[in-house]
Symmetry: C2
């Protein structure tokens, strides 16, 4: 088992191991966060893992109940939070309970937010079950729900008391969702660690075959790198925004595709765009060919989806800017591991870069 320490205001540990799930009850008993556990999962994870997990808690004398919500981003809203909170109140969950988020990114964001506001805050732990959640959303303490006007518009900064990452559970994760998470790992390589980037190049094939050692390495490295950034800048200050590499254009693509394309896939294209933009602005040379080769070897897209026109991506980039009356800031690269912030690139350079990413 490996341990990563996150040094936020309230510090906590991330534990990483294959088969860790079965160790959780004993560790929870030692942590003694509460005398009763509300396990929150979506309908898919509830079937695969949730019911067994709650039974295991009860067998270890940890009273627990499973609170299930319908799978999907569409559930990540305040109605779901209120619905689960009401069920918890009716079941008698008081201030001495704790929340367990068992699932992917939506579950982590939703359950973390609920924990932060339930009776003005109860402790919670994260058990991320997708690679994306393991390497990204379970570290950093961002919680939240969507509004019809946009994603994650309501939320809190609320640190979990512990994060349990069992890469064994990834064996039931469909391959495209594994790829979805790998895109974020590539991101950490680009902005923070040429070593991790090289590791991904070497082990791409093993990773796509769910190799345990390779998965353990990239998960630990990703968490360690993100934890460093977050420890330095817990609330959305300047430096933390380095994690937005690939996300400015990635989010615009995601919106233009009406959220029908996986987040990591959009970020993959967004990273290629950011690399090419870095080159077009003479910040960097020859990063994009290597990045594109890596992404392709991981089965991630490097060109705009067919049928998506550039104008609609530009529209969402401008809309974002207009809503927030801010400047359009990109995270670009001078080299692997050397990110720079760049404000307001000329529109024609941006357009040319996007045009170069059209599917041929």
């Amino acid at each position: 088992m490996r341990t990563i320490k996150v040094k936020t205001g309230q510090p906590y540990d991330i534990l990483v191991d294959g088969g860790l799930l079965t160790e959780v009850p004993k560790d929870l008993a030692d942590l003694s966060l509460g005398y009763r556990y509300a396990v929150i999962s979506d309908s898919r994870v509830a079937d695969i893992l949730g019911e067994d997990f709650v039974r295991m808690l009860e067998e270890n004398d940890l009273p627990a109940d499973l609170f299930v919500f319908p799978e999907g981003e569409a559930s990540k809203n305040m109605d779901t939070v209120v619905d689960i909170a009401r069920r918890m109140v009716r079941a008698g969950y008081d201030r001495k309970c704790a929340v367990i988020a068992l699932g992917g990114g939506v579950t982590g964001d939703l359950a973390g937010f609920l924990a932060s506001i339930y009776l003005r805050g109860v402790p919670y732990v994260q058990i991320p079950t997708t690679l994306l959640a393991q390497v990204d959303s379970s570290v950093g303490g961002k919680t939240g729900v969507d509004l019809p006007e946009g994603k994650n518009l309501l939320g809190t900064f609320y640190q979990p008391r512990r994060v349990y990452i069992d890469y064994g559970v990834l064996s039931t994760l469909p391959l495209e969702h594994l790829r979805n998470g790998l895109a974020e790992v590539v991101k950490y390589g680009c902005i923070l660690s040429p070593d991790l980037f090289s590791f991904l190049e070497e082990k791409a094939d093993r990773l796509l075959h769910y190799d345990a050692d390779a998965l353990e390495h990239i998960i630990c490295e990703s968490c360690r790198l993100k934890a460093e950034v977050v420890s330095r800048d817990e609330k959305e200050g300047h430096w933390r925004r380095v994690l937005n590499f690939g996300h400015t254009i990635g989010h615009a693509i995601e919106a233009a595709m009406n959220y029908q394309m996986l987040h990591g896939f959009c970020v993959s294209i967004g990273m290629v765009a950011a690399a090419r933009l870095s080159e077009a602005l003479d910040l960097a040379r020859n990063i994009s060919p290597r990045l594109e080769a890596l992404l392709e070897s991981l089965g991630l897209p490097i060109r705009l989806p067919e049928g998506l026109d550039i104008e609609s991506v530009m529209k969402f980039l401008r809309a974002d800017k207009k809503v927030w009356r801010g400047k359009l800031t990109f995270v670009l690269l001078k080299d692997l591991g050397e990110p720079v912030f760049y404000e307001e690139p000329p529109a024609e350079v941006l357009l040319e870069t996007l045009a170069s990413l059209k599917s041929s």
Copy 2:
């Protein structure tokens, strides 16, 4: 102008003065919490004060908009929070905005909660416009909304950056709402300050005539006393619960009356019950006659409302206990200024005490 310092994690000042409202724009400009202000008020306060206040902000080059919700406790729910948040997003309110809660307790709780979760938290200030809010809910950083299952079940601890108390605005407050706030002032006297208790005895008549000096004194003393408690125990620990004096039975009466009786009125009866219970348990002697005389001179009720039977009060006391699986803990008095926590008084003593409070 008087200043009370609240030493919570993020310390802040409470400013108290007659006519303070007109000084707010200049002070806000100095504080520079944001470049744009979302003023949140209920429909009643919006008419009386809100529109003028927003105009005053704009005249002082502070861009502002008024966000109004329907008056009343029924609005204190998540739907109202989501509705205002969506209007703010559509109006372009970003992380660099600040929220101003202009109104009574409901507005303060609701707007404070919204500020704590809007884009994961923006700064806010409180401008309480009822005596109850000025002496109670604007100090302490508790925010929240109700669920159908109970009051304040979802919320946060989130400190305002400043509280502006203008006792001049109380001139438009109906007398029964003045009394509503005075009940909480009596509470501070009972548990924390025999001096304040004596002051209330002396100045009861002046207070009921909205005397500015007397109001200033009780507001400052109440805020100072509550700030001391809250500074010592920011999140709901043991000591802070001393503020529940009169509230255990008070809340049960409030619920049994289906929330049709003002909070302070229920607390008034609850305080008499707590004093009599203290005497019945031989903790104290002869407190209740003096307390009842003071409450009566302030026009506050000291007997259970006609038609309310004791069994329904007991039912709500037991329900509270059952839901939270806890012990029924009362704040009782050994003397004025000497509160004690008392767990699970014998049911027959409790019943006798309540029976002694039947309207004759």
